[in-house]
Symmetry: C3
Subunit: 138 residues, 3 copies
């Protein structure tokens, strides 16, 4: 049994991290699937998905970490192609990944109490985003 839909998000630009757990949970409930997996995929190459304890400290620490590992700058070769100053956005997003699978049990995403699903905008401006949600299960 396969269900597929899209989740639309508005982002406020670089480092904007959102908790999408509730939105994903509602889609899982509507699917009626009791046991299985929900796959999430960010369309586009400058945003990422993952899991995190979504509390205010880590909402700063995690983008800070990415800034340190992959500094924003124009000194990337990507600039030679597009001249839009977002080479670091691409690199951060490719490092983290655009794809996430979460198990479903009892018609709900199965996560820890302090474990949420995040969407992270890595691009240097606000964007409209689409996350493809594909549910596989019984």
């Amino acid at each position: 049994m396969i269900h597929q839909t899209r989740l639309a998000l508005s982002t406020q630009g670089y480092r904007h991290i959102q908790d999408i757990t509730q939105a994903v949970t509602e889609i899982v409930i509507r699917s009626g699937v009791q046991t299985g997996v929900v796959h999430l995929f960010n369309i586009g190459s400058t945003a990422a998905l993952g899991t995190i304890e979504f509390e205010p400290g880590l909402q700063t620490d995690f983008p800070d970490l990415l800034d340190r590992l992959v500094p924003p700058s124009c000194e990337y070769e990507h600039e030679q192609t597009w001249h839009d100053g977002n080479g670091h956005s691409h690199l951060q997003a490719s490092l983290l990944g655009a794809s996430l699978c979460v198990p479903i049990a009892h018609n709900r995403p199965l996560l820890g109490t302090w474990q949420q699903i995040f969407h992270l905008e890595c691009d240097n401006k606000p964007r409209s985003r689409e996350v493809v949600v594909t549910i596989i299960g019984d």
Copy 2:
């Protein structure tokens, strides 16, 4: 055809890396699924899953790498919320990810000869862990 179960692990604390390939293989065999995918998901936000050549050198090198990229310290904002000194644990786990899919062929996980499935404890104390194992296939 969906099978879901949980794999319980005991960890010895920070940097403890375990080879869970055999445990996952046994679950796949019991499912009877010949062809498909096994999805693994760590419940909780301070441990990670992945694949690695599970030999003694890399069992040191990989946690060393994470220590270098995301140093243990109390200088994370996460401390303001919890005061438990494990900000780096959350950041390492979110960077690596809690989710892994491995193909199944001939009723076995399909891996390279020197490629194993690892569970890495990133928290700063021993933990009891649950990995959700969801098998999808024929």
Copy 3:
């Protein structure tokens, strides 16, 4: 409905990044699956998969980033086991991951316009690679 096949790749050695989107698309078309997920998995512990805007600048920037985060050197404990100088190859591959899921819609992988599926060789010599392609859907 499960379809599984293997995609053979030849790599030119360290830092060789390939766009495998077209090859994956052809496999999805042949499967006849309209809606679902395609799972890709690199067999072996020194190559990685992911998504990126596959343009010349990032084809340099992304391996450069990995070189900076996980420098090639012989100063890894892995050397004690194998003496083949590719400790960084294992670490880069384990950091990025060997597994990727992409949604399928209308019998095609659903990606952004500037979002491609890449295979990255992290080993220090040319290799023959196999990527397991498992398609789940209707």
